[in-house]
Symmetry: C3
Subunit: 439 residues, 3 copies
């Protein structure tokens, strides 16, 4: 184990240490040019694999996955555009966004008119290079800022795109942490965006830290972290894991969790899943403003997990949602956009929600007729008549509503007592044999 | 077909043309003296029958219908009151409301004191003649304005009521437009009020126009328009159609739809029927202020359709509700109270609601595991990375929620995308084999 | 029967007479020193038994009751504290709260330091003697005001507590008023607090008056009033009545119903029981501000009736709730804290709620297809056309919603017509054979 891993043990509570470690992972990954397939993904997974145990899967091009086919593998080495004075107008080496994702190789002289249909800009943000791709339609292209585009002069240009699109494979990584039950929590992050720091690396950093920290403790639930290209990756993973999807009881897509915005939690398609309850509880506990979004069938990979045939209980945590911050899918979604303390806050939120998932079970009161006499068990005050203490009140809540229908989180919400206190009271009552777990 | 009918074809979208045609029907019907039975009803149905195919049913007096008995047929030829100077104080020829509905014949001299118990006025609107009737208790009577009543001088009066109450029949009309399924929409309007233009003729005019326009198009649903006397008419119709009421999936009573007020929609007894959803959707789409009323067991014939033994899903559309406008059930509910453009607005609202009923089905996504690859079917953008277009988003909504549980209107409401756009996306997906209809 | 009883007959509607009678009962009971067992309880029940038929049950010490054991019987004759000048610093004869409930006997000289652990005060209300007890842990003690405690000087004190704790029994009383059905209403009040007037005697006074008044009339429901020590009393009663708890359909704990505060009704554990509906309806009818509290598993004996194994539908009526008024469980909860007119208001509220419970049944319309023809039964107006009278509208509501699903209270709420009017309309319709009761 490296020094970095140790620093993320669950007892490291200093947010600035934890946040800094996640930020450094993002810094390490930022220069790598990723796409939905190719060596950039492999390098990214290798870096993650230095921190957590990662099983790498390679799925050959052409494999049928649900309604889709795994595409050929794309690799890019260099790309630039020279004007007729030989000046480099566009240079992939300076920013990987300059090449259209999945661009075919191209080398040759073209006029400006011939070139224009292959140049992609974002006129609404003229200073930034947009992220554009053409995964399933063969094309070649370059991306540049709209202001640079507008300065292009008539004349001939030299295009050079040194890419390859060939049989190969789609690569994804999986970190599995077995718990004492095989109820699974699926955490999904995408690894296919070049450059993008909030919409890509922030999710990777928080998921990696979560996996590290969970690996230090004994968990009731099993946790599966998957690092996949978006859409085709989740479709590939779903296709290969259909027989065991019934074990996935809770799921979370993590993305855009490093910027300065308030939390946005997008509910599962079912709308009231246990992961929704746990995330909403944890969000309330932050005491910070936040927003709940209803499920919609676009966004990130939750749209695949939540397709009607699977309908998995997968929510999505973001700070500023996709498309709602100007830097989204542009060169401005860079390391300046994400902050260590924001990554740390996102991690803490997930940990609190998972604490609820871990501890949120239903019990049966084993002495359900009348209150059990707590005094003879030494867990009741001896002098009566005054207002009862909070810990006693908490026990009475847990005893009364542990009827097989209410989970501890239900009791927490009904009583307005924090989940942690409810959980502690339940532990005490379990020790005295007054509660039995429901299965 | 007359010129008038052609002018109401569904592609005639000019509200002023459509509204004018409906208003002219009301003008044609206004002078006819209607009651719950008799020749006035037959004349009224004849006029309607010139526009739409109408099957006339005659039910003999004395027929047992549910808990009721079809009453004798009433006809009125003339009625007046002369003072002792021979002046006509009250004249049925000027307004049919002047005779008590179902008044027995009467001819003779009476003192003012003898007369008074047979005179009916509305002191709260002293200038107007009220609409009063005594269908099931034999009586004779005349109605007049309260101010005229107060000017009656002591002395003798000559009463003349040339009516007849004899074995005959109750008459109603029915226009049936078969659809491709035998799920039926019942539209019910009453035809029993003399004079009343908003509370009677407006409903007849809009229902007749609706039937005309629906007859031009191929419909999934079957439509049954019934033109009946209120209470005894709906009871008679229900009594004779009990064996096929299970086909009536949606229903609507139309009345008071020509005045200047905002729309009021009274929900079905169930409160959340498909017709409620469709009407509420259509009302929202008007962008105009409107009111929703919960079901109550009084009002119009919905009280019969919604009796607990039948409990049909029948709502009621009004502009200003019964009893909530001063002219209600008085001589002031005349042709000045209704406006062509208001009739046209009511028609348009019903058409929009029926468009929803027609198209609001449930589908199953035939490729429910993960998103289907729309790109290979040519219905996905080729360059990715930017915010997706609305039409793509609409398809994703329809695909994700077409799980057999959600209707297209459910998806429209969940997504805040208009029903028409949802319906169009569904049509495209059906053509690509990605949706199959649920039965 | 005494004069007092007669004055509480249901036709005595003068609140001041009724309130005064209840207040006098509280005055009579106030001087008696009660505890969870002993002669004080017996004397209290004797006084109640002069007004209503009361069956007394004695349960021997040591009897196992659910998870508890009936404790030894405690009796107290005298208790005081003398300082070294022989002055009586504390005197049980002046207020029974001065002795710790269930204090062991004690006689002897002690230093102030030895004494202090046995003295109980309430520093937050330094002028009042607190109510403290040690029922299940053997101890001896005295209670005094905190200001008196602070004036204690160093030196020796003479303690005298003439109590006994011996095998005996726990005593409770039960008044059963059979109705025409064996559906039971359980009214529970505690009889174990010395001195306390609001948190004890107010509940006894209102429950006794309720029983008196209900005994004058023929009831559909059976009423069982139990006068019990809190916690161990309800546990004992539950333990001995487990086989017939299924008959208890509604229940109410009455306490703190004599003070000046607004009503607080604490819902049953189920939250929407018939007693909840009835109490909430009655509270609304008072037109006074009031508060509804959700069930919580502490408070009074409702916590035993509502333990998850029994889950009886027992609510709790209070004015100012336990712990929410400063005098609670102190010597200041005395006869000055309760008012005759507040007791009378509490009684009236319960009577109105019980009127709903008595009359709130479900009917089936026996003529459910269409409206029945009320005219031929003589219960419809003869001249039609004007706005219908309220009594007619009420009948239509009852007929339409008497479908086996809606109770009369449901119909009252849906129609915003008072329960009494709905009940009257139902009675009329029953007489005409148009409603049949559901069982």
């Amino acid at each position: 184990m490296s020094a970095q891993e140790t620093s993320l043990a669950p007892d490291v509570l200093d947010d600035s240490v934890v946040g800094q470690a996640m930020y450094e992972l993002a810094e390490e990954l930022a220069p790598i040019c990723r796409s939905i397939t190719g060596n950039g993904v492999r390098k990214t997974l290798n870096v993650i694999g230095e921190r957590i145990p990662l099983k790498i899967t390679e799925v050959p091009s052409g494999t049928q996955v649900l309604d889709w086919t795994v595409p050929d593998e794309w690799n890019i080495r260099d790309a630039y555009l020279l004007n007729d004075r030989g000046e480099k107008i566009i240079d992939f080496k300076r920013c990987p966004l300059h090449v259209l994702g999945y661009s075919m190789p191209m080398q040759g002289r073209v006029t400006l008119d011939e070139l224009k249909p292959h140049l992609f800009t974002d006129p609404s943000h003229p200073g930034w290079v947009p992220f554009r791709y053409s995964y399933y339609t063969k094309n070649w292209g370059l991306c540049l800022s709209h202001s640079a585009f507008e300065q292009l002069e008539d004349g001939e240009y030299q295009v050079f795109i040194d890419s390859s699109l060939e049989k190969g494979s789609l690569t994804y990584g999986e970190c599995f942490l077995p718990g004492t039950t095989d109820e699974e929590v699926l955490i999904s992050v995408h690894t296919c965006h070049p450059w993008m720091c909030n919409d890509n690396l922030s999710g990777i950093a928080v998921a990696t830290a979560l996996a590290e920290r969970l690996s230090f403790q004994r968990n009731r639930l099993s946790y599966r972290f998957i690092f996949i290209p978006t859409t085709i990756g989740s479709i590939t993973w779903l296709s290969r894991n259909q027989a065991r999807l019934h074990k996935v009881k809770h799921g979370l897509v993590l993305t855009c969790v490093g910027d300065n915005g308030q939390f946005h939690y997008k509910r599962t398609r079912r709308g009231n899943s246990a992961i929704d309850d746990a995330m909403i509880y944890a969000l309330k506990q932050t005491g910070e403003p936040h927003a709940l979004l209803d499920f919609s069938p676009f966004g990130f990979d939750e749209r695949q997990y939540s397709s009607p045939g699977f309908n998995l209980a997968v929510g999505c945590l973001m700070r500023t949602p996709n498309g709602k911050y100007p830097e989204y899918h542009t060169s401005a979604d860079n390391l300046d956009l994400i902050r260590p303390e924001k990554l740390a806050g996102s991690l803490a939120l997930c940990e609190r929600a998972f604490e609820v998932l871990e501890g949120n079970v239903r019990y049966m009161n084993t002495s359900p007729n009348g209150e059990p006499q707590l005094g003879k068990r030494g867990i009741y005050r001896t002098i009566g008549g005054s207002i009862p203490e909070e810990s006693l009140v908490t026990m009475l809540w847990v005893l009364n509503f542990s009827d097989g229908h209410n989970s501890l989180l239900d009791i927490s919400e009904r009583s307005s007592i924090s989940f942690r206190e409810i959980r502690q009271a339940a532990d005490l009552l379990v020790r005295h044999g007054l509660l039995a777990i429901c299965d």
